[in-house]
Subunit: 252 residues, 2 copies
DNA sequence: ACCATACATGCAGAAACGTGCAAGAACAGG
DNA sequence: CCTGTTCTTGCACGTTTCTGCATGTATGGT
């Protein structure tokens, strides 16, 4: 790994996570903490980050505000996204749904991860353009403005021609009785079509989705491999879901 | 191995891997590290890469984007885009290419225009999401990072299933003898496929494209309805194009 | 106040770098 | 066809830069 590459990596971590912990990065990249510290010192000297005990923080107040807003309103989504991104294996193929949580997954994917991402969301595709190692495959079709994804017959048909290891689906409701639900019938059908093309399907559900239900059923529990949520593992609804035999992956 | 070949190889590695390590390339191509370093130094001097200790990195995408947005052509692209947007009739169907000029067209479309837009660019699609009256149809396929559009067999096949009144194509070169050209063979094929599905095809060419040529031919003049450009109507090259029978729409 | 951790500094080995030089290839002109 | 010139390439050498370790200091938590 080139020194300059490390610096970019650090800046990327700052932008994505809003912080850098020297020790973690050193362990992650398998270099000495000294090097990380030296890099952070240099970056701070250039005004690109703010050095703090243990690591560094972004310098831009705007970024901090953004990170703060994310951490308040969408901290759950970010946690879920990180946990979901960890499921993606290098060289693997991922079907990624549309929606804000899935977009967070796209942002949480390591920038240098070599994998194939299949999506029906132009937004997700655009977000992954700067992942040089990621192969992108776009499923076309009529765009539903409501959720900004390709749906309908053409999109479902396009989905028939792909296969993947993993499918990450966002839903708007996760309820023990109503199951996995979303607000639009076309979207629900599309999600089913995507799920059917992957060996494993995991559901992305930040805590506010747990215990709620929307109008249209997406999938029965049996068709899913698990649920990724930041909700309290001892939450009553979560316990119920576990009792149904659902694997619940905690996101923290 | 020719020197120019080496340079291409290095640029290819930069685009594919996002970095070049001098030592590795030297070992790989069985040439001295000195030669690699010399090449990298030359490329850096031309602004085609960023020299760092140990190798080289691509010019920062942020810088490229910034430069692209700031570029002298911005004004020209906006003019061309406005003129092109005026060709779109309410209720009509438009096939819109990818690229920065086409993106400018997307932004130039009246927000309340009721039309159908077909595109193979996730970026264009994302830009049109806030046009409530516009029907959007996305052509899927493998995404080519270079220009951020869907290309290849699947995309061409998807294009076979649509028809439109108008197709607006961006190109990188407009030359009286070389014709309409672009820098990638797959892209050229995709542009041909798009053009074939529309009754009329107009070429978007801001003035800096006029008189230049790239590697791959897109279309012969006969297959195009006209050229939209902000170049001086009395420019020598423009006059030549008119003499070939091409309709030239001025953009001001 | 104490301890663990993070930090800065100095140092040494290793790696990368730039420069000058010479051998060889490509080329133009006679 | 020969010769002189120019360009490229690889090597050698001295210099700079990077990196990890060791040492001593500073910081934050308990």
């Amino acid at each position: 790994m080139l020194a300059a590459e490390r610096r970019d990596h650090l800046l990327g971590l700052l932008a994505r996570d809003g912080k850098v912990v020297a020790k973690d990065v050193a362990a992650d990249l398998e270099i000495s903490e000294d090097s990380v510290r030296r890099d952070l010192r240099d970056l701070a000297a250039e005004g690109l980050c703010q050095r703090v005990y243990g690591g560094a923080l972004p310098v831009s107040p705007a970024v901090v505000d953004y990170a703060a807003r994310q951490s308040v309103a969408q901290d759950g989504k970010r946690k879920v996204a990180s946990a979901a991104a960890a499921l993606v294996r290098p060289g693997g193929t991922l079907i990624l749904d549309g929606g804000t949580t899935a977009l967070a997954v796209a942002h949480a994917l390591p920038r240098d991860l070599a994998c194939t991402v299949i999506t029906h969301s132009p937004t997700i595709a655009a977000a992954l353009l700067d992942h040089p190692q990621a192969e992108l495959f776009l499923l076309g079709g009529r765009i539903f403005k409501h959720s900004a994804v390709a749906c309908g017959a053409a999109a479902v048909e396009a989905a028939q021609n792909v296969s993947a290891d993993l499918c990450l689906l966002g839903v708007t409701g996760v309820h023990p009785e109503a199951g996995l639900t979303t607000g639009d019938a076309e979207e629900a059908a599309m999600k089913r079509a995507l799920s059917a093309r992957a060996a494993d399907t995991y559901i992305l559900a930040s805590s506010e989705k747990i215990g709620t239900a929307s109008r249209f059923r997406v999938l029965p529990w049996e068709k899913t491999s698990g649920l990724i949520t930041d909700a309290d593992p001892h939450d009553a609804v979560v316990e119920q879901l576990k009792a149904l035999g659902l694997e619940v992956l905690p996101a923290n």
